[in-house]
Symmetry: C2
Subunit: 525 residues, 2 copies
């Protein structure tokens, strides 16, 4: 048996049995107690016929039991499929069936949609309810799953799949990113090295666990025997109150969330001095917000991370030292605040030309990434897998960037035409496909434009047919009925002239974006 | 190509090209300069006919060029065989030929013995001299090896051997421990996690580099882009002077060395406040020494490590926090000072009964160890490999210990009958075999007894034949002519009666050791 994700909790139970493992509302568990429940989950899953390699889905807000799924499902040889609850019911059904999910675990809030998925699914066999009360008759009680005897775990190899994580696809259908135990073990170690988790840490799960940015922290923190503090979902007031009450030392947030926290009317009323480090990512942090945040929490280090699901996820980091010196205006640190930092220990990143040759310093090219954290491929997508993994261990990220002479990466564009809004990835193509379904639309382009709250806002530029009438609200409603609300445009611009195009007829999105971004001093998307 | 040891220097060259990489006397190199030399080594080795999988030996004091061998030899697909220069010429010849060493790199001090080895060796093809002047005519100049053009490196896989490290064997012949790139990469990451290396660190190579305890730090420190400060060999005055002059922040020492440093007459004359952490191992640190050391360098954290060559080497660590609280007399920390700490992130350690079952808390058993750091096996020793690696990823350490309820390991004995004296492993059997060669000796047992300077001292208990005359000095001389000086007894006790034996006729060494160790409050060897 080689190293696997089970080792993280095994170590915590051995060296920190009596230490506080989880705080979730009124529930407080030691590692001995958490370890007992997670170990028993194997017996429970086995009793439901779940075998090594079967997929178990989760659809839930953040909670102790959701955390247990991250620790328990891969540990017992099954594959975690943690669903983004902001997807539409149709999208959720697709993600469940695409990878033959056998069992779905839902919390109370997602029981109705869980039932709907079960009804239409061709792969689901059981619905498990994590609710606090008695489980409804058509479901299995999660608490029964973790209350039984402990059987020996099946053999789990490092090469086994630990999870399938769905990301939006350029073709419009989400793709399942296959991550092995080796991938997530490597990322856990790299994360501890880059961020410095220690046993006295109290990490706040405030961002949604179904995102790898938060979920993957589970393994890093557990391995060092730190304490997980959990809130059901991001809410600025709850986050502030929880940091003070539980002495939270670190968390992961997207700038949109940081913005809501530091500008919350009661922010100054809380003692936030326990915070040692906040990792943020998905978009850069405007300098004004950075200053406000540093003034509110002077004890706190700020680290920016760059990564993606396919890389388990951490690739680069901009250190606390870079932030401190950059904010003081020292060069080259001040300029580097526009960057995503440098490759972390264990991961390689290079800027390549279209022909695969290395780009020069300062030359824009595609980011190629290599390391033990690179995904095994996309589930059942051999062509997209082959394109993303061209060989020799490399992954083609699709993101465009240049690097300076000290290997700081400056992201300038996303080849996959992706927008990151409030920490969620939105693929333009997917939104455009839905807009095109509206009968009045002749041409449509979806771009990200700067937005103080969301980092980037989904903006549609649309040409409608002569004589047709459609307004902004109608078009947005049209989208919201078909795809997740967070993917729908928040603003629409109507044009009479055809959209600008390249010689080959491709819409020139950079031309559309330019007017919005030219006043931004930070990196251009 | 999978991750390999070359990635450490690649990252440092990318993110820290202008940073100081090495200080060795008057020589100061940046990472760009170091990277250039190490990259060129591939061309040089290739020109000598060294292919992927060939063994390159090194016999040298600590130096910049010795460090380059650690970085360059495995990087270019060859296997490092770093020789303990304290071995006798006959032992060195054995270690060179046992693993078919093709090329031997020596410094000026070891040129004569290098020539002698070359003359008698059946495997060596070339002798390379790292001396500062022109290389003698029968050797190749090391500087030519690292001054040429850079060719693309050969493909190196994680499973390739990076080094063969010889340890004394219970049978009397040293055994070659085969460590892969994966092993040493895992240890580098685990070491950074356990010790917290950062880019601003200045690590002092004061212990001999040929020992994995110091040599393996090369990869951890390089990967984060820290600075290597090198002294040729341990010398208390030089160490003190170098710490002050170069602002050394961390080092690895054995207690014998710490003892010499803190009791050096000029110790208080130096500014040692740059020191942030000292890792010590191989034997526990007497409480009095610990107190003296903490008073001399109050800025410094103390961490104890436990490991062995077969584990690349780190297995457990007792943290700085444990030391601080233990020295204040707080329980359970004070009692834990007698322990070797807890398994580090990435490594599992269990106490097992002779039948392989898990021992209870407090019950003495053998330490079994598992992780990506476990050796591939012993070179050309299938039987000893099979015995040490019984399957399922486990390595049987041969060391006996118990653990407390928080997984702190207390080492009580070494099943392999090994003594650690001044940081060097000495196998009793090897010394006993040599003593038995003396015609007057009927029975002999070699044990470790407590010694203020050496941690343990090699002590022989001997029964001689009636009528024979031999005294302590003669017997010690007899040994020194046949094996390395550090392995020879430092004291001999003559007995008239047969030595105490078990029912099966085995000498009861515990009975011999007991009177020496019973007054020790610390762990018993």
């Amino acid at each position: 048996m080689t190293e696997n994700l089970g080792w993280a909790l095994d170590r915590a139970v051995a060296v920190a049995a009596d230490r506080l493992a989880v705080v979730d509302g009124d529930r407080r568990l030691t590692y001995a107690e958490l370890g007992r429940r997670v170990a028993a989950m194997g017996t429970g899953l086995h009793g439901l016929g779940v075998k090594r390699g079967d997929v178990v889905g989760v659809l839930s807000l953040n909670s102790l039991t959701h955390l247990e799924c991250w620790l328990g499902i891969p540990r017992h040889g099954a594959i975690l499929n943690d669903l983004n609850y902001r997807l539409s019911p149709a999208e959720l059904s697709f993600v469940v069936d695409d990878c033959d999910t056998a069992v779905l675990i839902v919390d109370d809030a997602h029981l109705p949609v869980g039932r709907a998925i079960l009804e239409s699914s061709r792969s689901l066999r059981h619905l498990i309810c994590m609710g606090s009360g008695a489980a409804p008759g058509d479901t299995i009680a999660y608490e029964d799953l973790v209350a039984g005897d402990v059987e020996p775990s099946p053999v789990v190899d490092g090469g086994d799949l630990a999870g399938i994580f769905y990301t939006g696809g350029t073709t419009g259908r989400p793709k399942g990113v296959m991550l092995t135990h080796d991938n997530l073990v490597a990322n856990a170690k790299h994360t501890i090295i880059a961020l410095g988790h220690v046993s006295s840490d109290r990490y706040l799960h405030a961002a949604p666990m179904f995102h790898l940015a938060d979920g993957s922290q589970t393994y890093a923190l557990t391995w060092v025997g730190g304490t997980h503090v959990i809130v059901p979902a991001f809410d600025a007031a709850t986050v502030l109150e929880t940091i003070e009450r539980e002495g939270v030392t670190r968390t992961v947030l997207v700038p949109t969330m940081i913005n809501m926290v530091v500008h919350h009317p009661t922010a100054h009323a809380y003692d936030l001095s326990s915070l040692r480090q906040i990792l943020y990512g998905a978009s850069p942090m405007p300098e004004k917000l950075q200053r406000t945040a540093m003034e509110l929490i002077p004890s706190c280090d700020w680290v920016q991370g760059y990564g993606m699901t396919e890389t388990s996820p951490m690739v680069t980091a901009m250190s606390a030292e870079d932030h401190r010196r950059g904010m003081m205006g020292d060069e080259p640190y001040a300029s580097r605040l526009r960057s995503a930092g440098t490759p972390i220990v264990g991961v390689q990143a290079e800027i390549r030309r279209p022909d695969g040759a290395l780009a020069d310093v300062g030359e824009i090219g595609e980011i190629w990434i290599r390391g033990p954290n690179i995904m095994a491929g996309y589930w059942n997508r051999p062509e997209e897998t082959a394109a993303a993994l061209p060989g020799d261990g490399w992954f083609r990220s699709g993101d465009m960037a240049f690097s300076d002479k000290d290997a700081y990466l400056y992201i300038v564009d996303r080849a996959k035409d992706m927008i990151i809004s409030g920490g969620e990835n939105v693929y333009s193509t997917e939104v455009e496909n839905v807009i095109y379904e509206h009968p009045a639309v002749i041409e449509a382009a979806v771009i990200g434009v700067p937005d103080e709250k969301w980092g980037e806002r989904i903006h549609a530029v649309v040409v409608i047919s002569a004589g047709a009438t459609v307004d902004q609200d109608e078009l947005i409603d049209h989208c919201r009925q078909r795809i997740a609300r967070f993917k729908a445009p928040r603003s629409v611009e109507f044009r009479l002239d055809p959209l600008p195009k390249s010689g080959s007829g491709k819409i020139l999105k950079r031309d559309l974006r330019e007017p919005y971004w030219e006043s931004e001093h930070r990196r251009v998307h």
